[in-house]
């Protein structure tokens, strides 16, 4: 698959304030690529460089093989974009606004716009300021998708949507991917990226710390496992296992809580020597992966978003 986005050694400083440093990233056609990080890690900075709102301090950014700066108009013709903090014209109705954006894009056919509005159950004839935050986000999404762009860049897309609309949005992403189009989305909502993305880049303090397939990340995930025994079992029994990162007794006196990294094999075999009443596990999700990457940085970051 051809690369749709290629970011090489991207560094962006705002004066002396760090935005991102030395970011390398390739997004291929037809994939959904998740961009994960805490607030202030540099996600929005990267996205805004992609769309030429910000100019790189150094490094190169190409979209469809075109330079993000020189060929920005040609790029914009082929992308849809949803800002992280959506601001629109308060006094205009959604229909007027979307019509306006469609016009200056040169979009002739508005049927996709109407289909999307219907799908998201959005009333187009109210002034933007009267919408709830969820409805505002829907206007933003319709705006981003209505021109059936080859690449959709979404900054925290589902944050304001209610769960039902989130599902609808995920279904839309699946269809976009199905059609061979590409999605690049940032998020700090981890289950979301886990649900929709094929690959994920994790950014922290302006630097990429990992780029991996979501499946691989899940395999490396820290999983929590609570095991209830028929009789009390001392913690020390499991202390020597290399895949057990943590083990602690639970309040009922007969259960132990485990945190396992990677394979379960070792622990399962050790457990087999005891009479086990119950095992409960929370599924490995990126939340746990995230903790691993941010273990020494749990209080977030101080950079510019």
């Amino acid at each position: 698959m051809p690369a749709v986005i290629e970011i090489k050694n991207l560094t962006k400083f705002y004066g002396t304030v760090r935005g991102v440093e030395d970011v390398d990233l390739t997004v291929y056609q037809g994939e959904i690529f998740g961009f994960l990080g805490p607030n202030g890690a540099g996600k929005s900075t990267t996205l805004r460089v992609l769309v030429d709102m910000l100019r790189p301090t150094s490094g190169s950014v190409t979209v469809f093989g075109l330079d993000s700066r020189v060929d920005s108009i040609a790029i914009h013709r082929r992308i849809g974009y949803l800002p992280g903090e959506l601001a629109m014209y308060d006094r205009m109705t959604a229909r007027q606004m979307l019509g306006f954006f469609a016009s200056i894009r040169g979009l002739e056919d508005l049927s996709e716009m109407h289909k999307l509005a219907e799908r998201f159950d959005l009333d187009l004839d109210r002034p933007f300021r009267s919408y709830s935050s969820g409805n505002r986000q829907k206007v933003g999404l319709v705006q981003a998708f209505m021109a059936t762009p080859e690449l959709v860049i979404l900054d925290e897309p589902s944050s304001a949507l209610d769960p039902l609309m989130q599902q609808e949005f995920y279904a839309l992403l699946d269809e976009v991917k199905e059609a061979g189009r590409t999605v690049f989305l940032s998020s700090h909502v981890l289950p979301e990226v886990e649900r929709v993305a094929d690959r994920v880049a994790i950014i922290r303090r302006g630097r990429l710390v990992a780029t991996e397939h979501v499946a691989d990340l899940k395999a490396r995930a820290r999983r929590s496992l609570d095991v209830t025994f028929e009789e009390a079992v001392p913690v020390e029994q499991f202390a020597g296992l290399s895949s057990v990162a943590e083990v602690h007794p639970l309040p009922d006196g007969r259960s132990l809580g485990f945190v396992v990294v990677g394979t379960m094999d070792e622990l399962v075999k050790a457990l087999a020597q005891h009479r086990v009443r119950n095992v409960s596990s929370s599924n490995g999700n990126l939340e746990d992966v995230f903790l691993e990457f941010y273990a020494d940085d749990s209080d977030g970051d101080t950079g510019v978003a």
Binding site: A87, I104, D109, Q143
Partner: protein, 275 residues
Amino acid sequence: MPTIATVIPVLRSIFGKTIWERRRSMPWWIGGLAFLLIVTILSYPSFKDTQGLEDLFKNMQPMLAMFGVESAADLFSPVGLINARMYESIGILVIGAFAISMGTAALAGEEDRGTMELLLMQPISRRSIVLQKHAALTVLLIGINAFLAIVLFVGNPVLDGLLSVQGILAANVGATLVGFLFGSLALAIGGVTGKRGMTNGISAGYLAAAFFFNGIANIVEGLKWTQKLTPFHWFSRADPLANGFPMGDFAVLLVVGLVLVGVGLWGFDRRDVVV
């Protein structure tokens, strides 16, 4: 199939939308200025035969000079009366303020509200955004002054027909150019900085200072040089309402305005837009 034809024509360009956004406030700007002008015109008949008042005002010559009144007799001529109310006074300040409000809204205001982000995402150059918004500002300024010119034409009989066609046109073209300059200034500062408060503050501060110095320089010889730094000087020193077009002076206003548009284009094109 629903097409773009369902979108009203004014919303099909940034230029059109910028004008459309002013549809509610424009009647107030135009109405206010026209009202001022009409009241001034209607007050003329009661002024013109008051020799006593004229003698009284002769003693106040220095104060009158601050407002650009060369001699007390001017106050009671149609040209003097209208200049003192409109083109050398509150009227031109209102036009300047209108231009500044639009010039500020064009770039700095749009950035301040955060709406610039989606605008920049469209397949359209930053230059085009600047130029379309500036064109909308210019068209509305022309609209305001065209309306004022019509009021003067219609009201001329009340003024004993003492205004000339040349004078009416020149005064309003000049007022348009003064607005053009102030609007372009706000556009330029917004283009370079993107900061709404700063843009409004500097532009409005310059408007007020320019008006003040243009007036005070008439009575304080040492401040004479400051007049050259004010648009009002180049607009009114040749009294266009009385004498028609001072081409050279108006060219100064136009050229400075165009240079400022260039600064706005350059400033907005080169920098990060941080919403």
